[in-house]
């Protein structure tokens, strides 16, 4: 999964609160100035002063004496109004219909049908809920004002703060109900769509029916130790290869949990067990029934689709080039996408170093084997062996607090074949063979050392990744190598992903209500749509308005269109071109400023985590929650002052 930001809530909240305070202060000053200006134009400066002062004076008591009870009453009314308009029912019906006929549109025949299903439900939910939030918030107040029904409320002893807050909360509650219903049926839809099982495509599901492994005939590279193989039946657009693996263990070792038969071989025993090859992110377990003459093999239902891995990412990734120089980025292999850096293979010093902080046994429940997961990219500079994958190696090192005086542990390198575009899992034993190296690079001891007690005694651990094959490259990014601490509960992760949509819905609702206190419905809708566009595409917009963007801003682009100039050719130096460029500088400030005003919705979109099976960590959703609360509060305050200007309420 592509992860480009690793938020830490505790590190973020301090500077964020400071920025928030500064923004609040700036907005207050700006708002007062603007209010004074408008009032001065309407009533003259002296009257304006009293008017603004009056509003400010009333605002304090309004905020302080806002009654939660009255807010809840207004919220309940807003909720009732939403029910009465039947928009919830319409939105839910559309979603239910989309799920019913969703199978038509879904092309879930590939290796990762889970990604297709989850993307579909998340996208559908997001669109419908945001649309609903926009419509109910945009129509409500302007309609009441137009129909004068608002007077039935404002003539009651309620404050403007309560009207605005009540509406926001009421509409959020309506959206929450819809979202909850959608979440439940989405989960059922995904679960039902992905659940499947297979049987062996053989006359009888027994080992004697399996075919001997023959790579020259089948073209398939057998797994290590495979002696025979068979296919399962095709279901859900795929089938699995089941291999009988010969596994030799010492006689004293614990036998595998499920095996067909065993053969004694001196001090060792060979166990024969069926293993189902993974397709995409899922596989099936095997059940062996030994009650008959020959053990019968059956496959259980899918496993691997519904997971929420809790990764422990490195705090830092550095690349070392072939000359041993530390670099921020790896080698570029000419990809447009620069997410991953590459390390070159063979006898060079080139490597990628992942530094893990706070690496303690407690985080892994004191397990004896720690799962290390990797998603590596591969770039071949020559064809090499088609049959073999590119080889890489990992090595662990301790990170002494003082490298000049303290020795460090270095494990033996562990070589393995990469598996591009797949999550590779390696079980790392706590007891690792390695050496203790002194600061003078002399070997002080060798043997087995504990991953936590020795290597990461100070909580820090370095993982070194190398490419073994000469002139081949391994590509890696910070999120590509991590230790899996645990597996979270899938349904809870699903709920957290929907919580991301809920946050977006809350922002849209608050903005819609705030704007609707002053503007009429079409303008509110236009404003909210703009906010949605700026929220979702803020990254693209910032890229578009970057000063170095080819072709210049809107005016320069227009000039180029008319004069038929390409984007690369610079404009001739003249007064006119200077004017054009300066005009652009001014114009592009507007969309750029907008991207800073509206929260970045991409940071509230957790669908990728759910799609790829990763836990949505608290740092991520807490940060998003704080941003949402701040924005909603800001929108409520804006709504309050706008409503005051309507002179509806005393």
């Amino acid at each position: 999964m592509v992860v480009e930001d690793f938020p830490n809530f505790l590190d973020w909240i301090g500077p964020a609160l400071l920025t928030f305070a500064l923004v609040v202060g700036a907005c207050a000053v700006g708002g007062i100035c603007l209010g004074f200006l408008v009032a001065a134009i309407r009533h003259g400066p002296a009257e304006a002063f009293y008017s603004v002062a009056g509003v400010i004076a009333r605002a304090g008591p309004d905020f302080l004496h806002t009654s939660p009870r009255r807010v809840l009453t207004i919220a309940r009314l807003a909720l009732k109004e939403t029910f009465r308009r039947r928009v919830l029912l319409v939105a839910f019906s559309i979603f239910a219909l989309a799920l019913l006929f969703g199978g038509w549109f879904l092309n879930a025949q590939g290796e990762h049908p889970d990604r297709i299903y989850i993307s579909f439900v998340m996208w559908g939910t997001q669109i419908l809920v945001l649309l609903l939030a926009m419509l109910i918030s945009a129509f409500s107040l302007p309609e009441d004002i137009r129909n004068h029904t608002i007077y039935t409320v404002v003539t009651k002893p309620v404050r403007s703060t309560e009207i605005v807050l009540g509406r926001i909360l009421g509409f959020i509650a309506a959206g929450t109900l819809l979202l909850a219903a959608m979440g439940v049926i989405s989960l059922l839809f995904v679960w039902r769509g992905l659940s499947h099982s297979h049987t062996l495509d053989l006359p009888a599901p027994v080992e004697s029916e399996f075919s001997a492994v023959d790579e020259a005939a089948t073209g398939r590279r057998p797994s290590a130790g495979a002696i025979s193989e068979a296919w399962t039946t095709e279901n859900a657009g795929h089938r699995h290869l089941v291999e009988i693996i010969e596994e030799v263990r010492p006689r004293s070792a614990v036998p595998p949990t499920e095996f067909l038969r065993s053969e004694p071989r001196g001090d060792y025993v060979a166990y024969y067990r069926p293993v189902v090859r993974q397709v995409g992110s899922h596989s099936h377990s095997v059940r062996i029934d030994k009650s008959g003459d020959e053990p019968r093999i059956a496959l259980t239902s899918d496993r691997g689709f519904f997971r929420a891995r809790v990764p422990v990412y490195a705090s830092e990734l550095v690349f070392v080039d072939r000359a041993g120089e530390v670099k921020d980025r790896g080698v570029s292999v000419g990809d447009i996408w620069t997410y991953r850096g590459y390390i070159d293979g063979g006898v060079t010093l080139s490597r990628a170093e992942f530094l893990f902080d706070n690496f303690t046994a407690e985080r892994f429940a004191h397990a004896d084997v720690i799962p290390l997961e990797m998603t590596l990219a591969v770039f071949r500079s020559h064809t090499g062996s088609i049959r073999e994958h590119i080889k890489a190696s990992i090595q662990f090192e301790s990170v002494p607090d003082d490298p000049q005086t303290q020795p460090k542990y270095v494990s033996e390198p562990m070589e393995f074949e990469s598996d591009e575009h797949q999550v590779q899992v390696k079980g790392i034993e706590r007891a690792l063979p390695g050496e203790l190296i002194g600061p003078d690079r002399k070997r002080l001891a060798s043997g087995y050392f504990d991953l936590f007690d020795d290597f990461a005694a100070n909580g820090r651990l370095k993982l070194v990744l190398r490419c073994v094959d000469q002139n081949q490259y391994i590509g890696v990014a910070k999120a590509d190598v991590y230790f899996r601490a645990a597996d979270g509960m899938y349904a809870w992760n699903f709920a957290k992903a929907y919580f991301g949509i809920w946050l977006q819905m809350a922002i849209i609702t608050a903005l819609g209500v705030a704007l609707s206190t002053l503007l009429n419905t079409p303008v509110v809708i236009l404003g909210v749509v703009c906010a949605i566009i700026f929220g979702f595409f803020s990254g693209d917009i910032q890229q578009l308005v970057a000063p170095q963007a080819e072709g210049g801003g809107p005016v320069e682009s227009l000039v180029r269109l008319i004069t038929q100039k390409n984007m690369q050719e610079p404009l001739e130096a003249s007064f006119f071109s200077t004017l054009v460029k300066e005009a652009d500088k001014l114009l592009i400030k507007i969309p750029e400023a907008m991207t800073h005003i509206v929260p970045n919705f991409a940071r509230m979109d957790f669908s990728n985590h759910l799609t790829y099976g990763y836990n949505i960590d608290a740092n991520r959703w807490l940060t998003a929650l704080m941003v949402t609360i701040s924005f909603c509060l800001g929108a409520a305050v804006l709504g309050y002052f706008c409503l005051r200007t309507r002179e509806l309420a005393g």
């Binding site: 549109f105 025949q109 590939g110 088609i386």
Partner: protein, 577 residues
């Protein structure tokens, strides 16, 4: 009721809409067919026009509900939706999110189902561009198949266009069997029963069978056969005749070439070559239209030349002696100087740039002069026959033009070469030579270079079997005889293939501790011929071998020093190790 009231207006509008829907429904009525595919109802005018201009599905059975729903749900913003999806597809590919790419291109074809280029482009993306992004060849194979499967989804939506079928032929044949992973891909294909079953929805998979399992070249053949059938049934042909009709014979030829590397050639491969040859003959005999719109036959050169000669004789009879007279007296430009003659006789690849330009100018001059000559001869005919003579001159010149252009087209598909090679490969001699070549490579794989003793496990009988070197030599001897009979093949793909075997043979001689090069090698004459005609096989000619052997006989001190420019400086540091 007051007709100007809003309610009455609404009623009127609804009624008008209802009335207009009736003719719209009638003219949009899709074609319906009976179970035996006979037209039950040809459909409305609009539907028929759609069908004629390939704008959308006009038959009820062809209408894809998903596609239609998707198109309608864009509310007229289909172009915008398409642009967004294309951008998403590009981004998904750039960010290596291939599942998303696959899903996006499927969505794209739902709203652009009749745009063949979309199918072709995106299928190529999946089969060629995405597949190579995976390191594991099994994953690559899966993506090759996904591109093919994707393309098959476009068939029912584009029944009036054979280009999708042609692309399927290319993907199933070329992609699977000409990639770096061709050995693995072909093995995977042979055992891929679910994929065969899927292809069986469109082609007859019983026709793919060989003794070693279904072959992907035969699948490609079936696709091209389907494409030809479509064109026969009236689908507009969208490729040039020359390339369109060579596809079927080319697939059988390719299968022959692939199989002789994989298995010991046998009766099946011989039969396949015979079939391939038969198809090349049929292709050569077919009237094809070239890019100028002129009809010609690939295999008609001799016949054409005879016909031109007979027309020329007829022309000369109308103006007896005129040709000789013009040639000797009034057409000095046709008299070639010795230098011109030498320029024409020298192989093209041995000419420098300046000589090439001179030769080209000479050829143009000769061509123009030859055409002019026929016209001049016609002018010498008596007045009564002049009209006929002019017609003959014009006919001759036209046929000469077609012949010259046909030569170029023949070169494009290497018609003559493949015709000869398919014929040769289907003979018993070639089968024997191929079998020995295969045996030699197997012996080489087992590192058996020289003769070895074999004991029959049943009878205990001992016999001496030839090693790889001797087997290669025997094979080369047979090939030398064959190439004597078909000299044109010395420079074609067959010659290239044999030179690879010769290189293997020389490598084996070194491994066996023998003198590396020998002039006794049966294909040495072919090596010399190819070298003289500019082929760079990196094999020594007879002259080079003699020189090499002469050098080897001299004492080491008198042998020429290798041409190494680099010399260690005198003050170079000593080796640290």
């Amino acid at each position: 009721m007051n007709l100007s009231s809003p309610f009455a207006k609404k009623i009127l509008y609804v009624a008008a809409i209802g009335v207009l829907l009736v003719p719209l429904s009638l003219i949009s009525r899709p074609t319906t067919r009976t179970r035996d595919n006979a037209v039950r109802d040809p459909g409305g005018l609009l539907s028929q026009l759609r069908y004629q201009h390939d704008l959308a599905q006009a038959k009820l059975s062809d209408i894809d509900p998903t596609s239609e729903t998707a198109k309608l749900s864009t509310l007229g913003l289909r172009g915008l939706a398409v642009a967004i999806l294309w951008m998403q597809a590009i981004e998904a590919k750039d960010t290596e999110n291939y599942e998303a790419l696959s899903s996006t291109v499927h969505a794209l074809t739902k709203i652009q189902p009749n745009f063949v280029k979309v199918w072709e482009y995106q299928a190529h993306n999946l089969t060629y561009n995405v597949a190579v992004e995976f390191d594991d060849y099994e994953n690559r194979y899966e993506w090759v198949k996904r591109g093919i499967q994707f393309l098959t989804e476009g068939i029912p939506l584009n029944r009036r266009d054979h280009r999708i079928i042609d692309s399927l032929g290319a993907f199933c044949g070329h992609k699977i069997s000409n990639s770096d992973e061709k050995v693995q891909y072909r093995r995977l294909f042979r055992r891929d029963e679910p994929f065969h079953a899927e292809m069986g929805k469109f082609v007859n998979i019983d026709n793919l069978q060989t003794p070693y399992g279904p072959d992907n070249w035969l699948l490609a053949y079936e696709w091209y056969d389907l494409s030809e059938t479509m064109v026969r049934q009236g689908v507009p042909q969208r490729r040039k005749d020359i390339l369109f009709y060579q596809m079927k014979p080319a697939q059988l030829r390719n299968m022959g070439l692939s199989m002789q590397d994989e298995f010991r050639p046998d009766e099946f491969s011989q039969t396949n070559w015979q079939r391939a040859h038969q198809l090349w003959i049929e292709y050569g005999d077919r009237l094809l239209r070239n890019e100028l719109g002129t009809l010609f036959r690939m295999d008609a050169t001799d016949r054409e030349l005879e016909e031109i000669e007979s027309l020329r004789q007829e022309l000369d009879q109308l103006a007896p002696g005129a040709r000789e007279k013009i040639l000797t007296e009034t057409a000095p430009q046709l008299q070639l100087t010795p230098a011109d003659q030498q320029l024409l006789d020298t192989p093209v690849d041995q000419l420098d740039d300046q000589s090439l330009m001179q030769r080209r100018a000479l050829e143009i001059r000769l061509g123009q002069a030859s055409r002019r000559l026929n016209f001049d001869v016609s002018q010498q005919a008596p007045a009564a026959d002049r009209r006929r003579a002019e017609e003959l001159a014009s006919e001759i010149n036209q046929r000469l033009t077609v012949l010259a252009r046909g030569d170029r087209d023949r070169d494009v598909v290497q018609y003559g070469n493949w015709k000869d090679q398919t014929l040769v490969e289907s003979t018993d001699e070639a089968l024997r030579a191929r079998q020995m070549e295969y045996d030699a490579s197997e012996l080489k794989r087992r590192s058996i270079f020289d003769q070895y003793e074999m004991v029959d496990p049943l009878t205990g009988e001992r016999r001496i079997e030839p090693g790889a070197l001797e087997t290669y030599e025997k094979s080369f001897a047979v090939w030398a005889e064959i190439l004597d009979q078909h000299p044109r093949l010395r420079q074609g793909p067959l010659g290239d293939d044999l030179m690879d075997a010769v290189r293997d043979y020389y490598g084996l001689r070194v491994a066996a501790g023998k003198e590396e090069f020998t002039t006794d090698m049966p294909l040495q004459a072919v090596v010399d011929f190819r070298a003289a005609h500019g082929e760079s096989d990196e094999l020594p000619t007879t002259e080079a071998v003699e020189e090499y052997r002469g050098d080897q006989r001299r004492p080491a001190s008198q042998r020429p020093r290798p041409n190494i420019d680099f010399e260690f400086p005198d003050d170079a540091p000593a080796d640290q190790n």
